[in-house]
Each structure stands twice: as structure tokens, then as C-alpha cells.
Symmetry: C2
Subunit: 222 residues, 2 copies
């Protein structure tokens, strides 16, 4: 593995575990048993590392949201999209953990993120249109656009929701399982639009993601 | 106006305009032409001011979400709930602007916020149940709970959504009008459950909140 990639992998691991704000380039270098000078040779500061990691995340999401042109979408595609999106959220969770802090004041990253959002909206709309064309959901264009926007908001806010509303300030407590609980809420957004033909099968899929009660009512808040 | 209340009012104004993180107790004292000592006499630190402001916000929301027991809900109630909720979001927008930063590491506030969330969920579920009982929406219990949770997520994430996805790092650019655009997205969440009896009237209500296109496609991202 190239030094540059080792730095990115270590930074991602530390950002996810401790939060980007608490991790310095010195921590990353120390974690790799590398001199700060060697790290600076590859990245001139932490912002460069964050930007590079975002580009990797962005490319992953972009490819995950592609819609096949040669065939109709299936309900397995629908589940697959959700699984990949939430897998990406988990692997790059530091991005959604403290987003204002990450974006505001970082003009280059913020501008790139806004364009990423617009692109994701168009791709999400294309997916919902594909599900409509396959008669998995039945939805008109305007509702489709509103649904796509609410989908973006719930997906990108889910990690923050878990942090602020469910857990104590021990971010390591957020498990991938809990993060996947967000998949249930996305199914819930789409559920009213399911066609009679597919409703039963899609609702059965959703069952697998029912949030565990203790997530929504942790002892300390009841 | 009592000094204590003047301090809270000034803090709220500065937090909303500049972001809580950028405002110190000295800024607040200076803004009031008051000595830091005088401010400390009333609040021993910024956390105390933030906590006090949160208690005011919490009390406002709690009363805004009450469901009348002596009569059925009307579609005017529904609109009224949304307008009050988004009015509160605007008046205390600093809370939703950088929530992780505000809550994490502030155990007392975080614990209180989690209990607030649980209470709001129950009240939101009661409102949706009331709309169901008045035959404004038709929804089963499980969908109602999922809808209430998505409603919370979209409402509490809307300010952050505007900041991260639409605007440059000039928070003053977020107008009350843009914030109210979130009302449209909440209507959108409920829309599939509208009864035939009320669908037309409620959809007409939603029209008033259609987001202006330039909000979702600012020049710099297209």
C-alpha cells in the first residue's frame, strides 16, 4: 500500500473513531509511526486529507447510485441501493457526524459538496423514476421530487440524529447496526407509494430493518 | 426588562446571527454595554446561558405541540402546528445550526435534549393520531410512528440542510422565508396519507410553501 493511501486509510479510521475535530495530522503520523515531515510531504495539511477522503466518498456514492439503462429496476435493486448508501455512510461517518463544522469555512469542500448534493438528487430522482417505471412504486413527478429531497435529508441526518437524540457522548456507541436502522426510515418514506403488486414483498424487506426499541428509548431518556 | 432577561435576549440574538461558537460571554457583555463581571453575576458561564435559552425553547415547543382534548383537529390546526414549529426553529436557530457541537460534551443539556426528543415524538404522534381521528389523514399506527420520526428528522435537520447544501458560508443568508420552505417538505411527508375528503384543501395549503427554485439550485452549484 502506497504511503499516501496508508495516510488516507489511517486518517479515515481516526476521524471515524474520534471525530475529525479531535484528530491532528500529528496524531495520524504517530498512528502510522511516521514523522510529521513525511506526512506533510504527501499532504500539506489536514484539510487536504479531508478533501481527498471526500473525493473518494463522492466517487463511491456516484457509482452506487447509477441506474441500469438496459433493464428495469427490481426490488432487489432498491434494497441494494439502500444497503450501499448506508454502508458508505458508515465507512465515511465522520463526514456526517459534524457536517457544519466540516463544510462551513472550507469553501472548496463546501462548493464541491453542494454540487454533489445536486447530483445525488438527480440520481435519486432517476432511481425513484425507475422504480415507478417498473411499477414498484406509483408516484407523480412532483411527489417524486419531494420524496427524493426528504430521502436525502433523512439519509444525511441519520448519523447526527442518532448522536443527538439517542446516545450519550460516546460516539463509538453508534454501531453499524444502529446506522442501518436508518434504512427502515427510508422504506417508510417510500412505503405509501408502493404498488399493490409489490407492496407485500417490499414491506417484508422492510421488516428486516425494524429499529430495536432500545435505540429509540435508551434507558437514560425514559 | 430585567438584566438577566436582557442578557438572554442579547445572547440569543448574537448566537443566531454569528453562531454560538463564535460568541463569547465578553461579546455578549460588550453588546449590552455591561461589564463581564456584571454578566457573570447572572450567569457563571456561556453554558449556563445556552442551557437557559434551551429551557425557554423547550417550553415554547412543548406548549406549541399540545393537542386540544375538547374538540377534533382541523386542517387549520395542522397548518398552525407547522407554522409555530418553524417559527420556533427560526427564533432559536442557533440550536439547530451546529447541534452536535452544542450537545456533545454538554452532558446536562444532551440528557435534557434526548428527553425533549422523546416527548416531542409522543406529542407529534398524538397530533397525527388526532388528524387521523378527524379523518384528515388515514394512517395505521406503525406508519404513524415512522411518519412522526421522519417528521422530527426533517424539521430538526432543515436548517443544517440549508446551510450545508444550498448556501455559501454566510449564515445570515438563510432567511426566515427559506427556513419556512421546510414546511413544504413536512406537508410532503404527510401528503400520501391525506383522506380524499381533505386532500384538495390540504394540497392547496401546501402550495403556499413551494420552495423557490433558486433555493434548491443556487447559481454557484449549477
Amino acid at each position: 500500500m502506497k504511503t499516501r493511501d496508508r495516510i488516507l486509510a489511517a486518517a479515515l479510521e481516526l476521524f471515524n473513531l474520534q471525530g475529525e475535530r479531535k484528530v491532528t495530522t500529528n496524531h495520524i503520523a504517530a498512528h502510522l509511526g511516521m514523522s510529521p515531515g513525511n506526512l506533510y510531504y504527501h499532504f500539506k495539511n489536514k484539510q487536504e486529507i479531508i478533501y481527498e477522503l471526500f473525493l473518494i466518498y463522492e466517487a463511491t456514492v456516484d457509482s452506487n447510485l447509477d441506474v441500469p439503462t438496459e433493464r428495469k429496476l427490481t426490488i432487489e435493486d432498491k434494497l441494494n441501493y439502500l444497503q450501499k448508501v448506508f454502508q458508505g455512510l458508515w465507512e465515511f461517518r465522520f463526514i456526517h457526524r459534524d457536517m457544519e463544522h466540516l463544510l462551513l469555512g472550507e469553501e472548496r469542500l463546501h462548493t464541491r459538496y453542494r454540487a454533489f448534493f445536486r447530483r445525488c438528487q438527480l440520481k435519486t430522482e432517476a432511481i425513484y423514476q425507475g422504480l415507478h417505471d417498473a411499477n414498484i412504486i406509483q408516484i407523480n413527478r412532483r411527489d417524486l421530487e419531494g420524496l427524493a429531497l426528504n430521502t436525502w435529508i433523512v439519509v444525511t441526518s441519520w448519523y447526527s440524529f442518532l448522536q443527538c437524540n439517542l446516545l450519550l457522548d460516546v460516539n463509538e456507541n453508534i454501531t453499524q447496526d444502529m446506522l442501518k436502522g436508518g434504512i427502515y426510515q427510508i422504506f417508510q418514506l417510500e412505503r405509501p407509494y408502493l404498488s399493490d403488486e409489490y407492496r407485500g414483498r417490499v414491506e417484508a424487506m422492510q421488516e428486516a430493518f425494524i429499529p430495536k426499541p432500545e435505540w429509540l428509548t435508551p434507558p437514560q431518556t425514559t
